[in-house]
């Protein structure tokens, strides 16, 4: 389905949290500005208090009521600020954290829905990083960055207005207003310039950090290869290169923070304001408290001085992250769900490939070569098909197309007169079951894994499926049996055990068309024999396609299809192919079992069941 992206631009995305709660946002921003006002007001009241104090000292009045009142005012402001701040923080937390939670969920849902073409192209590590970090950074850009910036700029503006008011109140030309209205924009300009200058460096640095992490992680994962080929030096050199670049960027970023001009501007503004107000006080135009007000207001602005560029940076950075996210979210899926899906399909009917071509899309979005090229064949309904061919021949691709993980680039796949792309993927995947080559198991109980395709399955059904897949025996030997939680990526089981669990999973799903992709390669001979017998039952009365290299599967197949380089080479029964297809003869001659035929002729081979191990894996 072509993804209809809700967000047109990165801005849309970055601000979507605020849009979701407009009323709360207005309240939060309003209160944030109120907090700024309170902060600056405390400086103002301090000035008033000093005036009261000056009068008291002059008149030797002792502690005046006015002075004590001012002290209480300041304390009151502190209390009110405390409460306001918390309310603002709470509102912003609700707005932004809920957004973060839902944005992450939405991101996952969208990419999960994307067809496999997407997942082939994009590194899942990168997707994970976007889902976790990028979304978090977008949230950071709103909270705390935006929240603090609102307060910082609010304070700057309110302080500027109050400073201008000092002159106006006294009926003078607003000289202070002029001073701060030159200083503030300059201050903001340089703060912004710093943020702009440092942003690309910081981004580059964090990308370099990712690169460095990737380089070392890769080496440590493949340490055996490094060791075996003695390439330690090469790897050290490689690391030296990336880490030196990291050092360069880290230095650059750090140095940009030196000689931070806004501080200088603030100092000059304060000095000029100080001289002006001091002079006015001496001229008798202002009371002494005004000098205190001016200095204290500018000192309050100083408090935000270093915060401002840092948060500006986070906001700009959040924009870049939002861009990345929106780009992923707006990926257009070449696979569309049908508008009028066909619901009634005869899954037991013939399967026809009609001029089917398919190419995987490379990471740059191009299809450069074809995995299947102009493939034509017809599988009669209910038959057992064996699919063989060399690596890259297209066997797995054929199975994936039947599961509608992809649509053919050209041509059609028809099942019972219905073009497969007219069927909703959900219906296709209900009817078609695949046991994949590289078995993926989830980090949940064995029970949960077997019942993955059918959550409502009863314990009995699960155990029956396991039995049929020849998995029951080894599961029963596990301490916690069916409740055993499989380790990360199922690594604690042997290859053969995992394959059997995957088969059980598919048996439980009870698909109408069964696809097995080399599913028994790691299973030992005896188990495989038992498995075959069990699968005989499962395959009864349904179409099955098995990618295999086992002789017996070939012998018992109704049809053998040989593909090579994405093309059909030959198809037919074993006997026919052996007689007619050189390609098949060649493959057949290399089958290990075929070799053992000769041994079988020479000496009797029996099965010594006592020595049979149940664990698969062949190693």
């Amino acid at each position: 389905m072509v993804n209809v992206n809700r967000y047109k631009t990165a801005n849309d995305y970055q601000l979507s949290a605020l849009r979701r709660y407009p009323a709360l946002t207005v309240v939060a921003v309003g209160l944030a500005l109120f907090a700024s006002l309170l902060t600056t007001m405390s400086s103002w009241v301090l000035g008033d208090a000093v005036d009261e104090l000056a009068l008291a000292v002059e008149g030797d009045l002792g502690l005046t009521a006015g002075f004590i009142q001012s002290c209480w005012y300041i304390l009151g402001i502190a209390g009110l600020l405390f409460i306001t701040y918390i309310v603002v923080g709470y509102a912003f937390a609700i707005i932004t954290l809920r957004w973060e939670r839902d944005a992450r969920q939405e991101f996952f849902d969208v990419i999960q829905k994307n067809s496999m073409t997407f997942h082939d192209q994009v590194d899942s590590k990168q997707l994970l990083a976007v889902a976790m970090q990028d979304i978090r950074w977008v949230r950071f850009s709103l909270n705390p960055a935006l929240r603090n910036i609102i307060m910082a700029i609010g304070s700057l503006i309110i302080a500027s207005i109050l400073l201008a008011w000092i002159d106006i109140e006294a009926g003078l030309f607003p000289t202070l207003g002029v001073i701060v209205s030159i200083g503030s924009p300059l201050y903001l300009f340089f703060a912004y310039r710093y943020a702009v200058a440092i942003e690309p460096v910081r981004r580059e640095r964090s990308e370099q950090n990712e690169k460095m992490t990737a380089v070392s992680q890769e080496v440590f994962r493949g340490i055996e290869v490094v060791r075996a080929f003695g390439t330690e030096r090469v790897e050290m050199k490689k690391f030296e290169k990336v880490s030196k670049e990291y050092q360069r960027l880290l230095t650059k970023e750090g140095r940009l923070a030196a000689f931070y001009i806004p501080n200088l501007i603030l100092t000059l503004t304060t000095a000029v304001a100080f001289i002006y107000v001091a002079n006015q006080v001496m001229e008798g135009m202002f009371p002494i408290g005004t000098l205190v007000k001016a200095i204290a207001l500018l000192a309050a602005v100083d408090g935000f001085s270093h915060m401002l560029p840092r948060f500006l940076l986070v906001i700009r950075g959040g924009h870049v992250n939002a861009k990345r996210i929106v780009k992923i979210l707006s990926w257009e899926d070449p696979m569309e769900e049908p508008t009028n899906p066909v619901k009634k399909i005869d899954w037991k009917a013939d399967i026809v490939f009609e001029n089917v071509s398919f190419g995987y899309t490379s990471s740059d979005g191009d299809v450069n070569s074809y995995a299947l090229k102009d493939l034509n064949f017809k599988i009669p309904g209910g038959s057992r098909v064996a699919l063989i061919g060399g690596p890259g021949g297209g066997k797995t691709t054929i199975l994936k197309l039947l599961l509608r993980l992809y649509d053919p680039s050209e041509g059609r796949i028809i099942i019972g007169n219905t073009n497969l792309n007219k069927v909703h993927t959900k219906d296709v995947r209900d009817a078609v079951g695949l046991v994949e080559q590289n078995v993926f198991l989830f980090r949940k109980s064995i029970k949960g894994n077997i019942a993955f395709g059918r959550a409502d399955a009863s314990d009995e059904e699960i155990e029956k499926a396991a039995e049929r897949a020849q998995a029951a025996e080894f599961i029963d030997e596990l301490e916690e049996g069916y409740e055993t939680v499989i380790g990360e990526r199922g690594m604690t089981l042997s290859g053969g055990q995992r394959q059997r669990l995957a088969i059980a999973r598919t048996i439980l799903q009870d698909p109408k068309i069964l696809l097995l992709d080399d599913s028994a390669s790691a299973i030992d001979a005896r188990t495989e024999y038992l498995l075959r017998k069990a699968l005989d039952e499962v395959m009864h009365d349904r179409t099955s396609i098995t990618v295999t290299q086992r002789l017996r599967t070939l012998l018992e197949a109704d049809i053998i299809i040989i593909v090579d380089k994405g093309k059909l080479v030959a198809m037919g029964k074993h006997d026919e192919l052996l007689a007619t297809s050189k390609h098949y003869q060649r493959i057949f001659s290399h089958l290990p079992e075929a070799v053992s035929y000769n041994s079988a002729n020479k000496g009797k081979t029996g099965t010594n069941s006592e020595d049979i191990v149940n664990e698969g894996g062949g190693n």
Binding site: V50, I74, L81, R101, H119, G230, P391, D430, F442, N619
Partner: protein
Amino acid sequence: MAAPRGPAMMMEKEKRSRPMRVLLRSMFGYLGQFKRIIFGAAILSILATIFLAVDPLVLSWGIDLVMEPGTDLNNILILGALFTGLKVTSWVLASINTWIMAGAQAGFVRSLQQDVYNKLVKADLSYHHGEQSGDVTSRVTSDTDSLGAGIQIIIELASQILLVIATFTLMWMTSPFVALAALMVVPVVILIMVIFGTVGQRIMLATHRAAGKVSGQIAENLGGVQVAKAFNREKETSSTLGELNEEAYRHGFKFMMLMTLMQPLIRATGIAAVSAILFVGGTLITGSTSTLTLGEVFLGTILIQRFFMPLLILSMNATQFQASLASMDRLMDVLEAEPKVRDSDNASPLKDDSDGIRFENVTFSYLEGSEVLRDVSFTIEPEKMVAIVGHTGAGKSTVASLLSRFYDPQEGNVLIGDQNIKDIKLASLHDSLALIAQEPYLFDGTIYDNIRYACPSASNEEIMELSKMIGAHEFIEVLPAGYDTQLIEEGKNLSAGQIQMISIARTMLADPKILILDEATSRLDAYSESLVQEAQERLFSKRTTIVIAHRLSTIAKASRILVFDHGKLVEQGTNEELLSLGGRYKALYDTYYSHQSASEISEDTMKVAGKEMNKVEKKPGMTSGKTPGKMGGMGSGAMHRQGQGHGK
């Protein structure tokens, strides 16, 4: 105002294995070439602080001066210039410090990174197998960063402490009462420290864990996305994630509120302290015996901020510093560890005429108490191919690992020719001996890069030629960008067989003198395997080779077979000898190698198959020479099976 340090709060508290003294000493020790620069930077930082500490004094003089009748404007101008001068000087000094530190810190972090990395690349494999690769990587990246931050903190520490002391002294000189009133902020600082150290730490850890679960779930869901699709389980995986996500939200909310609480607490305390100082100052100044001036009262209100903030920063830094020490501790584990497997003092290169392999009473265990190999002795003659067979856990792969000297045996010796491999230079050993591991690992990079890994000088043509020979060319060619296709995530878009093929090409290109194949062709189809074997025969026929395999076709060609069982070498001999022995090998043979169900196939099919087999085998040349690229190789593969291989 400095916001609380984020990263500091992110670090988990851990038990350190070394005392702080040792850690600090080695931290300074590691400064190495940067010692002088950093010392200089610290001086600058202290100077900047001194200038910073006195500037409020200038402003308070100003206030007092203005109050005095008849003050000349020039005096005010001088004070203005003095204020500007102090501020600018402090700014310049601090900026130079920042400038220098940026370079020194980055340099220090880098040299540390390289040291740690080099150490880890050479560390024993037992270390790597015991750790997650992500954890190892974080030694190189985050721990070194954290240590860099620690150095920064130590430098800041000096100036912050100086600022606290200088400010407090100034206040004391102004009025001891004001100074005492200023101490009211101390309980708040302690409160903040305690909140962070206890509840905060707990909430933070829970938040991290919850976020980690979300991350892990997303990673797993992405890994299994095809399975979820195949079974129509997208909704369920989504709702599983939803639950974890909700939990992470709840924890995150608590954490956020905690952080949100800090800011108003700090701000409100700052303002309340102003009120307190003002009141104390006011009381003193209006008192009868006051020597306090108005300017000094104001000075008190400014100084209280200068006292409060560095105290806060110090308390916050303490957490970060703890984290840096913990990082140092972990790094020392790495840096001080001496790899057990390394060149001995009298190591020499592998001699050209050293060939053949000998195990002499080798006993080995990965973990103490569970021996994987027990008293194993065998000899492999030079230029012979020997197969090793046995069940899972019999110790087959361990033989390969010991021979590659990934580990040293606890008892006994491994020899190549007459040289004990402990006395062979590792570089030379690995140049001459190559292992194709059971689970091949491909690096992110192009196919070319991967095949060329051990032989950087190989040309594209050579790589292609080799790939053709082992039958890999056909599938590589049809990849989206052919040989230039970028592999991601260890080659997730390739089948297991294709990954094996590439790793085989990589090793064959390296052209080793001794070859070990550990189930190297287990995921190949029979036909591809035969091509590989044929190439192997052509390129490596006269080299010492060990194959660990479960396929009869591989074993049958070995000059001898070693049968392992539970870490012991139990039988050895040729295929026929071992079969007629009727022991362990025979049992294995029947389980894995023979076509167990021949009796299941009807007699007729058997006959046909057998007959056809003979036909095919009798006409080896029928396919060769038609299309050299594709058919030629295949034909010769069939020939080879009869021992008539050509092209040697």
